[in-house]
Symmetry: C2
Subunit: 273 residues, 2 copies
């Protein structure tokens, strides 16, 4: 593992990888990002993406990443393979896997690219939202350690309390940032796109086993725009469109404080009735 | 190749694969689904998905598929590998690649599942649309052979004619089906989710090199619901949300004539200014 300073941010400690040769890296789950069972999916996704980011053959920055959660990760060490499957002049395609005890836990693909300024336009807008500081911070959930590592201030669609009635829709709007604050980069942004609890909890506020099966994140911002966010609050939206036959989707967006869209993300989530 | 009847639908001929042992299949591009350069991306995506569908270890039906177009496919034969990377009790994870002359052309992942009826709801609605037959069929584009294999009737956002001014937004709404009509299945639905021309053509009606880099499709319908569509027209929407730094996204939906959502799809597309 690249030696981390003892005061490293818990996020950096959680996604840390040691090169192990031949496209291989070693990592380990972090109790700070534990979920009810196994790690928070967003930290696993960020770790997979981090392997490509750290790879010596890396070209450019992430444009798209898809992670598929194939099986549970137990607390402990794991291995990541990140293979640059094809490198073109300005794009690079990755195939990534996470294994634990020779069992596949995650498959992923990523596309990196050297981006250049072009004509640009945005056809959707961030939601109207009051300043982050004017909204209450949602307390972390004791059963899900990772929630303590995000500051979330919900404008609507806050995590169900267990006593709240079913919502008419599954939309959430919130300000979010790492806790403690940490300068934004692609891997942190990747994790944030998975930091909204399962939409089914809003529509059916009762205990429902649910877990992301596949998530795709598109990065609309280049490295300079991502870095320019610093550790400011980001405005995020998440909503399910269709629930049925044991799965629902979620479409999400993450915006900078200046109103620029940083990432959009889509996932499909298993739920058990 | 499973021997196809001589009157096989051109789609079935185009996605046909011959088992070649050890998770390998042989296929070939089809002139009927050729695009301006190489094949229509949707037929390549459908072929990749077809490899998992035909694999003897297949469990259940597709829930999610992501294809990444890593490099151009030339006209001619290619090889598909489809590896069931992890099979659980009711889900199965696939890693798929297409190679041509030992060069990687496509990486893909897919999640299959045995689906069971659960609580269901839909939080978005199909667009209002008059019957398909009341709209004009868009003529195929001579430069893109594949367009002759779809019947498209646009309500809005039809392919630019070259003389049309830039649209204010990139939204298309259309009725679509295979031409000649063919009973719907998952592979055909997968191809249809890529059958909308690049959104940039609507916003900048001028010749712009553009190509899908990564596409993810979520199947919301089970096999019975897909089959129940028969060869009816499907209602589809497609829209870009953010264009910039050489890439734009597209979010799409495909609905049955009865108003049920069959699939949602997202892609990120390269464009050159």
């Amino acid at each position: 593992m690249s030696p981390l300073p003892s005061d490293a941010h818990p996020f950096d400690a959680a996604i840390a990888l040691t090169p192990a040769g031949d496209d291989r890296f070693r990592g380990a789950t972090s109790p700070a990002y534990g979920n009810m069972i196994g790690p928070f999916g967003g930290i696993t996704a960020a770790t997979a993406l981090n392997a490509a980011c750290l790879h010596p053959a890396r070209l450019g920055d992430p444009v798209a990443v898809t992670v598929n959660f194939a099986g549970p990760l137990a607390d402990g060490p794991f291995e990541v393979t990140a293979r640059p499957a094809r490198t073109n002049r300005s794009t690079q395609h990755w195939v990534i896997e996470i294994l634990q005890n020779d069992q596949l836990a995650l498959t992923a693909t990523a596309v990196f690219a050297v981006r250049r300024e072009t004509w640009s336009t945005t056809e959707f807008a961030p939601p109207e939202a009051p300043p982050a500081d004017s909204l209450q911070r949602q307390p972390p959930l004791p059963r899900a350690a990772w929630t303590a590592n995000y500051e979330k201030r919900f404008l609507r669609g806050g995590a169900p309390s267990g006593t709240r009635p079913a919502a008419d829709d599954s939309q959430s709007v919130l300000w979010i940032r790492d806790e403690p604050p940490r300068p934004l980069d692609f891997v942190a942004l990747c994790a944030i796109t998975d930091a909204f609890y399962p939409r089914i909890f809003l529509r059916r506020p009762q205990w429902t086993p649910a877990g992301t099966v596949s998530m795709t994140t598109y990065f609309h911002a280049d490295a300079a725009t991502v870095a320019a966010q610093g550790s400011a609050h980001l405005l995020a939206t998440a909503r399910g469109q269709r629930f049925g036959n044991g799965y629902f989707d979620q479409t999400a967006s993450v915006w900078g404080a200046d109103g620029s869209v940083l990432a959009t993300s889509h996932q499909i989530v298993y739920f058990k009735e």
